[in-house]
């Protein structure tokens, strides 16, 4: 039996306190896409080491040795762990392809891959995703964070009618 989600204002305040602790202790906010970029770089490096090391954008990750020895990588691992602990305690774990009642699972996965790729590209353009840019930059009242957040939601609302069947 799944337990209900917590009140959004309570969960939001908890998330905000976590972000505050991150700033005070680590000296930086929360992030997710940076860790994913590092993990993807490490995987690509296993296949084509020279190409990755010579890439202008990724090469720097190897300056200190292992690109995975980076705070955003362990933060990402922590996000997985925290998410699992909470989901498990609430009885919300289980293998599934989450989609709307009339959505085809195959198309759902294709759109997940495509959506992930767009999100990955967009986050690198913007120097962060909804965690590092919208949430963490927003809490420091950064102009670019508000621009990013506004653009993100405008584009998502615009595309939403076309992918409605995936969700509703």
């Amino acid at each position: 039996m799944q337990k209900p989600y917590w009140n959004p204002y309570v969960a939001g305040a908890g998330l905000g306190l976590t972000l505050l602790v991150s700033y005070v202790v680590l000296g930086t906010g929360l992030g997710a896409s940076g860790g994913i970029t590092r993990i993807a770089t490490s995987a690509a490096h296993a296949i084509a080491p020279a190409a990755v090391e010579h890439n202008a954008y990724l090469g720097g990750y190897f300056a200190d040795g292992n690109p995975l020895a980076y705070y955003l990588v362990t933060m990402f691992a922590g996000t997985l762990l925290g998410g699992f602990l909470s989901a498990f305690a609430a009885g919300r774990t289980g293998l599934q392809i989450e989609r709307g009642p009339t959505a085809a699972p195959g198309l759902r996965l294709v759109l997940a891959l495509l959506g992930g790729a767009l999100a990955g590209i967009g986050a690198r353009f913007a120097l962060g995703c909804t965690s590092g840019q919208a949430l963490s930059g927003g809490a420091m009242l950064q102009t670019g964070s508000f621009v990013f957040t506004g653009a993100c939601f405008a584009a998502a609302f615009a595309l939403a009618p076309l992918v409605r069947q995936e969700w509703r």
Partner: protein, 196 residues
Amino acid sequence: MNLYANDLLGSPIGLLLSLLVGTGFGFWLERAGFGSSRKLTAIFYLRDFAVLKVMFAAMVTAALGLQALGALGYVDLASLYVPESILWPQLVGGLVFGLGFVAGGWCPGTAAVGLASGKLDALIFLLGAGIGSLAFAGMQPHLGDFLHAGTCAIGSLPERLGVSGPVGALALLVVALAAFVGATKVERIMSKRNPA
């Protein structure tokens, strides 16, 4: 002083504390219901504004806390790492990211929580995000000056508007409270019109 200012984020203790902060991050995202892509995308159909409520509540909590600690002298806000504001790439990046968000159903952090909950679509989304990051690295040398275009917007919004940080955080609180009231009204209207 914080770890970043002391160049200790990459040290063993820095990596461990980042893991702990991440654990809190994942926990609260999951508690909010963000391990579900249908819950996350419901805002785009005006059915459930949890995304807006949680994000604004978190941003305001942290912003007020940071400005208070800064004003009281407990935290030197200038010593913190904040992502640089660069107008044009952040506008374009936001638009591209938003398309990916509603088509894929996740953002990077929530996809981690979705994966931890057993969602296969979250795993595929993360795979896509990794591929997208590498694709960006491939095109980055050809983007020229665009990635630095619009540095005129640099810095914080209160700075641009000529007000203090604490005033900016209070203004954000007012905007958030108005958004909470508006969002709750829309939720009520939509559930009356189409109960489910």
